[in-house]
Assembly symmetry: C2
Amino acid sequence: MTGTPRPRTPGTRDRILTAAREEFSARGYEKTSVRGIAKAAGVDSALVHHYFGTKEQVFEAAVEVAFAPAMNAPNAVADGPVEGVGERLTRFVLGVWDNPATRAPLVAILRSAVTNETAAAVFRRLVATQLMRRVAAQLHLPDAELRAELAAAQIVGTALMRYVIKLEPLASADLEQIIARVAPVVQGHLTAP
Amino acid sequence: MTGTPRPRTPGTRDRILTAAREEFSARGYEKTSVRGIAKAAGVDSALVHHYFGTKEQVFEAAVEVAFAPAMNAPNAVADGPVEGVGERLTRFVLGVWDNPATRAPLVAILRSAVTNETAAAVFRRLVATQLMRRVAAQLHLPDAELRAELAAAQIVGTALMRYVIKLEPLASADLEQIIARVAPVVQGHLTAP
């Protein structure tokens, strides 16, 4: 079917991505099918394959959209004095988690990554390569990647306990109080001697 | 059927628990059924209900067994000088994760807790109440529970990134190197002014 002109209604690609995000969120990676995404978007499965390729590639594209604001953040996070990078990173990531509108795709990504190896690989590529390594690159330290991953472990662990497992008192604590406690730890991981 | 004498072969209860742990590990909480556990254990479903009750209660019992070594640990972790509690706790929890034999049930618990609210509630009860709060109780600080949860966030986040998501270089780093970096952070969460 390659070469056949296809209907490229403006917005079709976005509609497929929205459907994909909703399907992956609701069902998890394993139970979601390209056919189900196509049906939810009101298009033919072949069109989904045409735009994105395999299910893994649809997932990656859907995750990338969810992370789109974050993809511009590393520069903003890394810019500015290095003494404040821990707070900027913590405030940014927990802020995205704290917003109910942006939390749902993150929960979906985390759930999929914890239960499925393919989704974990997508998580690794996006979070590690695109987000944390761009922060790490600004540190100019030989062990910057390990530092960035331990910082990510504190932030993602906090998000997991607060927003997914909902441990109390952490789940109900004021966000600023949590940032005040987590940011110095993240700063320490990133820059302490 | 209450009151009817039942075969209480020594080891039947353990056999059911082993089957339950294997079923929950392999299938996750939602796809596991009491009937499937009974079948794997070679007993009648009624016997599983008799010993444990509902699926949630079987899950909790299976998790408790997986956590059994940990259930005695809080005292060992909390005993001794408070300056070393961060390292004792980090070494203990990451040590359990680092052992392939004890890692499987932990991955199963985490997967179930991330994808299912009932399993998350069991995780909350066991980890929060039985493990972290017993550590927190030794701290004699007003915000001890929040401190313990942020410490748990760092340790569980590290385990998640290292053993489940398998982020590199964290996944291949030497365990002692990881403990050396995580323990002071855990200590800080627990006891820093």
